[in-house]
């Protein structure tokens, strides 16, 4: 990998130059406390030390709402409405979110690529940035705290600038075209980089092994935590819609008043909604709020075979943005026995009867 240094005084010029590679998006403050990736006009508005954005970067590729095609019923025809995507640059993506995109790629690019996702992914330049974890972050436990690939450039903060890792041919070209802005990396820079990484590693709230989480979740399907926590859940779906790896969508056909033409649209969906599990015949395979609540925990902690990682990348959004104050991490730690109330005696006796196949409400009555 190629490494270069971007001195601090060149940061804004560099950002300005990035605009030559496409429309520039970066984290900005959108309200008192929250951040989001927005189009950048004035590069001085870019936030280098944001905690997390309310919308994950997947929004650039898997759009929150998009028209898929237009149709005519009489002509039995449809026409894809995929617009010409202009190149764009997403600056300031944290490591966990880069892993989030890699997870999205395993779903939307491999085998049967989603063309709407693919065309945007091909046109998007990704520039990562280092960060210091806050109390909500746990990417260290998910092994997504350091991205080896999945970016064009990655900027690591130094006291007097940035140590830049070049991760793709596009990254090389960006550096080469602006070579006057960069310097060589010195021994001192390497020391500072190590120092930052050490401080960062220590700043995480938890340092523990989550290796058995997946199994414990399956074994503890009837743990009282599910009732207690799903009871206070609003089923608002914010945990899904802020998650960098939630990928479910809902489609709807909208017919025009001519009763002939129309279009199909898709939008992000949430497994916390009743209709997510609703199928023909009015059956629902996740009929209760508890079933739906548990589903997200099982989904996020299952393994993505291609990457060997869990679907959750530890960004902390689902806890940080939960209006009911539900802590995903605390609940997982409860299941793992790392918080109190992990193994109530009355439950452990019955363990053999529990687990997925025995969970109530999944297989119907009297089972």
């Amino acid at each position: 990998m190629r490494y270069v240094k971007l001195p601090k005084e060149n940061t804004y010029t560099f950002l300005e130059r990035l605009k030559e590679w496409g429309r520039l998006y970066a984290p900005v403050k959108i309200s008192e406390k929250f951040y989001d990736f927005r189009e950048i006009d004035d590069v001085r508005k870019v936030e280098f030390h944001y905690n997390r954005t309310i919308m994950p970067p997947k929004k650039f590729f898997f759009q929150p709402r998009e028209k898929l095609f237009e149709f005519s019923i009489k002509d039995a025809e449809y026409r894809e409405t995929l617009e010409d995507v202009e190149p764009f640059v997403v600056f300031g993506v944290h490591a966990c979110d880069i892993f989030g995109l890699k997870i999205m790629d395993t779903i939307y690019l491999d085998e049967l690529p989603d063309k709407y996702y693919k065309v945007r992914r091909e046109k998007g330049v990704i520039i990562g940035i280092s960060c210091m974890p806050d109390e909500y972050c746990f990417c260290n436990l998910r092994e997504t705290d350091f991205a080896d690939d999945g970016f064009d450039l990655f900027l690591h903060e130094l006291p007097d600038g940035w140590l830049v890792r070049v991760g793709s041919p596009t990254g090389h070209r960006i550096v080469d075209k602006n070579i006057k802005l960069f310097e060589e990396v010195t021994t001192e820079d390497i020391c500072n980089f190590r120092d930052f990484e050490n401080k960062r590693a220590q700043a995480f709230k938890y340092h523990e092994d989550w290796g058995n989480l997946r199994y414990l979740l399956e074994l503890e399907m009837e743990h009282p935590m599910w009732d207690e926590q799903s009871d206070i859940c609003l089923a608002c779906g914010i945990c899904n819609t802020t998650c960098p790896t939630c990928r479910c969508y809902e489609v709807q056909d909208i017919v025009n008043l001519d009763g002939n033409t129309g279009y199909r649209e898709r939008r992000w969906d949430s497994c916390q909604f009743r209709s997510h599990g609703l199928v023909a015949g009015n059956h629902n395979f996740r009929p209760t709020k508890k079933d739906r609540f548990r589903n997200r925990y099982l989904c996020k902690n299952s393994y993505n075979e291609k990457l060997g990682l869990s679907y959750c990348v530890g960004c902390g959004r689902c806890t940080y943005f939960c209006p009911a104050g539900i802590s995903f991490v605390r609940n997982l730690r409860t299941i793992m026995g790392l918080e109190e109330k992990s193994c109530p005696p009355e439950l452990s006796e019955e363990i053999p009867k529990r687990g997925f196949a025995y969970a109530t409400g999944i297989r119907g009555e009297d089972i």
Partner: protein
């Protein structure tokens, strides 16, 4: 689609006529004209006839007089599909908010004046007749109207909305006034479809589209969230009731949260 034109009726009960106006002003209505016969819709058709057999009857307004009870029953008998339109028809509207008795309300508005109708407490259309589909909001959304009619025209059935406004805040990239500023936003219990219009202007949702059906409006969880932010039971119920006065679960679920503390 069959060549036969679909017959449409639009009836108004006690209301502000804002629902009809909203739809009558849509340019898309012109597309509908070749496919539809407007049997009754005074705002569009001077020669409207009340109440004739129709394929789709839209009803706006809350049932607020004896005469309107009879009218909705007749509409039901003569229509294949009945669609309740707007907050008044679907939830009884803000006029249902009050707990005061009818006499007192009557006096406040009309004094000793005489009118030609028999008043009743305002109620949603569904309290009197079976409603097949609903268009929510105050005023309702054009998009929902287009979607419903378009879907009916091709002989299919439009989906109901069973998810909250929160989804649309997140799709739209709004901030969250509930988490960030502790405002009593009703987004989590209110049906989506408005594209989170109010929160987009930093105004907490007041719930005009009504609480989500299918028993997935979690008044209790939201009351707990509000309580933790310092709202009293009365404030919470008052706010939730503005557009949900006839919801049978609301008070019971909010009370549950406040009882739990006393124990």
């Amino acid at each position: 689609m069959s060549e036969k034109k679909i017959r449409i009726g639009f009836y108004a009960l006690t209301s502000c006529y804002g629902c009809q106006l909203q739809f009558a002003m849509m340019d898309e209505i012109l597309q509908l004209i070749p496919n539809a016969e407007i049997v009754c819709w005074y705002m569009l058709e001077r020669d409207s006839k009340e109440v004739e057999p129709v394929d789709i009857a839209f009803i706006e307004g809350s049932v607020s007089t004896e005469e309107e009870v009879e009218l909705v029953k007749e509409v039901r008998e003569k229509s294949k599909i009945v669609v309740a339109v707007g907050a008044c028809a679907t939830q009884g509207g803000v006029q249902s908010w009050t707990d005061k008795p009818l006499d007192e309300l009557w006096k406040t508005v009309y004094g000793d004046g005489k009118v030609k109708f028999q008043p009743r407490m305002a109620k949603p259309v569904e309290e009197y007749i079976k409603v097949d589909y609903r268009l929510y909001g105050c005023p309702p959304e054009k998009r929902d109207f287009l979607y419903a009619i378009g879907t009916f025209l091709v002989g299919s059935w439009p989906e109901d909305i069973d998810y909250p406004v929160c989804l649309e805040c997140r799709l739209r990239g709004n901030t969250c006034v509930l988490i960030e500023r502790g405002e009593p936003c009703l987004g989590p219990i209110t049906r989506a479809g408005c594209d989170a219009r109010c929160p987009a202007f930093n105004v907490a949702c007041i719930g005009c589209r009504g609480a989500i059906g299918y028993d997935v409006a979690w008044f209790d969880s939201l009351a707990k969230t509000f309580k933790e932010k310092g709202y009293t039971k009365e404030e919470i119920i008052e706010r939730m009731k503005i557009f949900n006065a006839h919801n049978p679960k609301l008070e019971e679920m909010v009370n549950k949260i406040f009882q739990e503390v006393k124990e």
